[in-house]
């Protein structure tokens, strides 16, 4: 289901997200829900939802931005930020090599794209994660981009919309990756002190450090259908507790039932829903 073979290496609390899915039927454009196969342009047209069974395929960051924003309004920010290798980290391969490969294969500098734009005419800032870049893991660059997006939203007096898709913290940056949790939490507190809203959308998967930091701190928490939202991944939980997991363990539907999110929004309704929330939260300063 995922087009990112390295994804499995980098998520921490939920390292087997991919393995939990029905085994990919060879091609990323084959629906794991019903087996239908689509051309890429067909999937793009349908917002990467299966027209047959409604399965939500993963969406890359730039395509997500195109789905959500008024055409031609996106202005990217901080595109030049890149990870350093503070630990000189080397496992089976050096971290710098993994980074270079991810940049080549995704065309992105790191796992988050940020910038400003309009949705149904309402100005906002966006912070959109890309699972294809090392499993959407959060290291120094993701944390810094998110913090700057909060500051940019505050300066403009507009809400920040965050779209999460992440396996957790990026362990190749060690303790500095963990520090992106408090860093992004502080950024949300500053955003809130300025009176600006955070609208947080969780897509499959939003696990580990993301769920334990900014993604859970939205004024409104939305999730896509079926999105896995858990702090610990299903495999870790199973190994630890030896329990049989409930069928919808950690899924958006369970999270709604247990009171953790406000709504499950199918992808087709995401743009009008966010637009409505932007109008409700309005501007909170100069535009």
């Amino acid at each position: 289901m995922s087009s990112t073979p390295q994804g499995i290496d980098v998520s921490i609390e939920d390292k087997r997200v991919v393995a939990e899915q029905p085994p990919a039927k060879g091609h990323p454009n084959t629906c794991p829900g019903c087996g239908s196969h689509y051309r890429d342009d067909e999937l793009v047209k349908h917002l990467r939802m299966c027209p047959h069974c409604g399965h939500h395929f993963p969406v890359r960051a730039l395509e997500r931005i195109a789905q959500l924003l008024d055409e031609g309004t996106f202005i990217e920010e901080c595109a030049d930020l890149r990870s350093a290798d503070p630990l000189g980290f080397f496992d089976l391969r050096p971290y710098v090599e993994r980074l270079a490969e991810a940049e080549t294969s995704t065309g992105l500098g790191d796992a988050m794209v940020t910038g400003g734009g309009r949705i149904e005419g309402s100005a906002c800032r966006l912070a959109v994660m890309d699972f294809a870049f090392m499993g959407g893991s959060m290291g120094s660059v993701v944390g810094e981009k998110f913090a700057r997006a909060c500051e940019s939203a505050t300066a403009a007096g507009v809400p920040l919309v965050s779209i999460a898709a992440s396996g957790g913290a990026r362990m190749q940056e060690g303790i500095l990756a963990l520090m992106q949790l408090p860093k992004t939490v502080c950024a949300v507190d500053e955003l809130h002190d300025a009176g600006c809203a955070l609208i947080s959308v969780m897509t499959h998967p939003t696990t580990g450090g993301l769920l334990a930091s900014f993604a859970s701190l939205g004024d409104v928490l939305l999730a896509e259908p079926g999105a896995l939202m858990s702090f610990a991944g299903p495999r870790v939980v199973q190994q630890t507790t030896k329990e049989k997991l409930p069928e919808d363990f950690g899924r958006a539907e369970q999270n709604l039932r247990f009171g953790h999110i406000d709504a499950i929004v199918p992808r087709g309704e995401l743009r009008p829903t966010i637009a409505r929330l932007l109008r409700l939260f309005g501007s909170c300063g100069q535009l």
């Binding site: 630990l87 496992d91 990756a177 520090m179 696990t207 993604a215």
Partner: protein, 311 residues
């Protein structure tokens, strides 16, 4: 492995640490000297074995736990129970006590000393209810202008079905958000295992200290090894790669100081370990004593805002 860039900040903070302590008239110059020698070694490369030795010390079963320190450094301690919602999670203890004659709120993870207590305290792995207890005690402290001391010692937040259903991720996020908002001085000390999100939930503090042999990490060495090396037995190699020890955390500017332990580790002399901890904590609070709530928040958020290394 100190990079030449990190070096000046590291040195500076070490000497600041030393400076504070002598200023407060430490009675334990020998411990400090020993710490200084250890830190000096950082300019050389630490071996895999040396890093691993600290991991083992951080997890030593005879190491003092939160309540061992509470009994030794607090006066008039009164434990507070319950999250005012559903449960009283004993993996996290909280209470009020006096330190240097002033009332302080204490929150800390608590492992168990014997098997029965370990099970009762879930090996120091909190459910969301534990973090909710922590948050409501922080808010109580804020209401009454009590400084907050947290003692971090957990393998991690508990990864279980019920814990997820009760909102583990959200609870950890919100506990940090409450700490970022507090208008009172906050000091966190990692006294054993500082395991991932479950640890940082209690560690968004004005001053974050680590005991000399504590560890603070984004994932356990075993977890890291099983993911990256696909072999949990490579934990020693993993630990050396991501360096969870206090010296490296100080080097990376993730913590503000190191608390010396008795020679051989805190488990060899609980009383001395507690005395060293008490000195470090009171020094840290003394530095924060006359700072206004707004300035505390501002500096605290700015400190975490700056964490991370970019190319």
């Amino acid at each position: 492995m100190a990079s030449s860039d990190a070096e000046p900040g590291f040195r500076e903070r070490l000497s600041k640490l030393a400076g504070i302590k002598s200023l407060r008239g430490t009675k334990l110059p020998a411990e400090l000297e020993r710490l200084q020698r250890q830190l000096d070694r950082l300019t050389e490369e630490e071996t895999e074995e040396e890093v691993w030795e600290r991991v083992l010390l951080a997890r030593d079963e005879d190491r003092p736990y939160t309540l061992d320190y509470v009994a030794r450094i607090f006066g008039e301690f009164f434990e507070l129970h319950g999250d005012r919602g559903r449960d009283d999670d004993s993996a996290i203890v909280a209470g009020l006590g006096t330190l240097d004659g002033k009332t302080v709120a204490l929150i800390g993870q608590q492992k168990g000393r014997d098997l029965k207590e370990r099970v009762a305290r879930n090996f120091g792995m909190a459910y969301p209810e534990g973090y909710r207890k922590a948050m409501r005690v922080m808010e109580l402290a804020d209401r009454h202008s009590f400084p907050v001391l947290t003692l971090v010692d957990t393998p991690g937040a508990y990864p279980g079905v019920a814990a997820e259903q009760h909102g583990q991720g959200g609870a950890i996020a919100r506990s940090q958000a409450v700490m970022a908002r507090l208008g009172v001085p906050t000091v966190a000390v990692v006294i054993g295992e500082g395991g991932s999100g479950g640890a940082v939930a209690l560690a968004l503090a004005d001053k974050v200290l680590m005991q000399e042999n504590a560890m603070y990490s984004v994932i356990s060495p075993e977890g890291c090894a099983s993911i990256l090396w696909r072999d949990a037995s490579q934990a020693q190699k993993a630990a050396a790669a991501f360096k969870p020890d206090a010296a490296h955390c100080l080097e990376l500017e993730v913590i503000d100081g190191i608390v010396p332990e008795p020679a051989g580790g805190a488990h060899t002399d609980h009383d001395l370990a507690a005395e060293l901890l008490r000195e470090a904590v009171t020094s840290a609070f003394a530095e924060l004593e006359h700072v206004s709530p707004d300035d505390l928040r501002r500096a605290r958020r700015a400190k975490f805002r700056a964490m991370g290394v970019l190319a």
